[in-house]
């Protein structure tokens, strides 16, 4: 890199850091997400608000169960295809890869990994969650289609575990998003994780895994708790 390029890069960096300082005083919304007017290709001026243009601001709604046998059939089908989002949040995510190997083989239970939240209905919170990660977790969880299930792995999600006095990790996951199954241990072995899946299947078949509805019902409470710790809230309230 020539000296001229280097100087240019430094000046751009400095400029960016100045913008960030001025923005920090106003709000945490990034400059590219701010509400503003832009000129369209045909010359007309239009207003854009990226945060709300790209996401629906609609609140989540409760889905009432269908009547009788239909719901039972649906629950049986749901229990047999649990598609897990491949998102490791903490140290526990290292326990998930063995499940895909022939030794533990989670595919025989109808459990498989998916790369995007739009295709998955189960989310494994694997271990400690820092506030920074929680923000991403909420955003991802809300993008998953209902009915959706959460498995919380390890003691960190239950009561903070060994990070109970940390300034940056949360203590109780169920205050921020509803949890279907807790799998205790530090760390739980893959067998424990499989047992957790079996428990989740039982709950789904019994019609008790209705946490997505609970999230919709107590939406304001969950949002208040989330916003209490995520100080730089620069995303829409509901990210669907």
């Amino acid at each position: 890199m020539s000296e001229k390029d280097m100087n240019y890069k430094v000046s751009q960096m400095l400029k960016r850091s100045e913008t960030n300082v001025s923005n920090a005083k106003k709000s945490f919304v990034r400059p590219e997400d701010e509400e503003r007017e832009v000129v369209a290709p045909d010359g007309s001026i239009m207003k854009v608000n990226p945060i709300y243009d790209y996401f629906s601001g609609k609140r989540p709604e409760e889905e009432k169960p269908k009547n009788g046998i239909v719901e039972k059939f649906l629950n049986w089908a749901r229990a047999e295809s649990i598609w897990v989002l491949g998102f490791g949040t903490g140290c526990g995510s290292i326990e998930i890869p063995p499940l895909v190997t022939p030794r533990f083989d989670m595919f025989r239970f109808g459990v498989q990994m998916r790369p995007t939240p739009r295709q998955s209905n189960a989310f494994i919170i694997s271990g400690y969650l820092s506030v920074k990660t929680l923000k991403r977790v909420i955003r991802t969880y809300e993008q998953m289609p209902s009915p959706k299930y959460i498995l919380a792995l390890g003691s960190c999600t239950i009561n903070g575990g060994m990070y109970y006095d940390s300034y940056s990790t949360i203590n109780r996951l169920d205050k921020y998003i509803p949890v279907d199954v807790y799998i205790a241990g530090c760390m739980p072995r893959p067998e424990a994780l499989l047992a957790g899946f079996m428990k989740l299947k039982e709950l789904i078949k019994a019609g008790k895994a209705e946490k997505a509805n609970e999230y919709a019902r107590n939406f304001d409470e969950y949002k208040a708790n989330q916003k209490k710790i995520i100080k730089d809230w620069n995303m829409p309230d509901y990210n669907w």
Binding site: G160, Y164, D165
Partner: protein
């Protein structure tokens, strides 16, 4: 190594020169000449590799101690240049022009200890935590347990036991505690 230390003593009136072991020495210099000493070590004495930069909070003295650790790849020796800065409104001359890695270290120190490095690129951006509004979290007067209890809904029922005492109470509840055992428990 000793020649270099003598030179630093003469040129930058370094105090507290300490040879930790063969090939590792620390010197403490005044805040105003600390970066001069670092630059001199880099350009004239071959300490061209910047290992790291860190900070120690001496809360009792009201000081932050900055450390620049440099390595000479030819002689395989390290020199740490220490300097003390005031704990109230801490600020230090930025060394971002010396090595590019210094940008990141200074950004980290700004977030963790609140030390300002005016002019350092991107120094005000988030480094690890996002949206932090409390006092910098690595300062010793920040009580992390208290903060966690106030902020993160501690689950009631959490207890801590000393493993030795607890197991003895569980396994041998009637056995008297001897003097030797008492010592061991300490």
């Amino acid at each position: 190594m000793n020649e270099i230390l003598d030179k630093i003593k003469q040129k930058y009136s370094a105090e507290d020169v300490k040879v930790q072991r063969t090939g590792l020495a620390f010197v403490t210099v005044n805040k105003d000449v600390a970066l001069d000493a670092v630059t001199w070590l880099r350009d004239y004495e071959g300490y061209s590799h910047f290992v790291m930069m860190s900070c120690v909070d001496w809360i009792e003295d009201g000081k932050f101690q900055l450390l620049y650790l440099l390595h000479n790849p030819v002689t395989k020796t390290d020199v740490g240049v220490k300097t003390l800065i005031n704990r109230d409104n801490p600020a230090m001359t930025s060394g971002h022009h010396l090595w590019k890695q210094v940008w990141t270290y200074q950004r980290e120190l700004k977030e963790a200890f609140g030390i300002d490095f005016p002019g350092s690129p991107r120094v005000d951006e988030n480094f690890v935590v996002e949206g932090w509004v409390d006092i910098p979290h690595m300062r010793r007067d920040f009580n992390t347990k208290e903060y966690s209890e106030e902020t993160y809904f501690p689950r009631p029922g959490r207890e801590t036991h000393d493993p030795a005492t607890y197991m003895r109470e569980q396994l041998y509840p009637n056995q008297p505690v001897t003097a030797k055992r008492k010592d061991n428990d300490k």
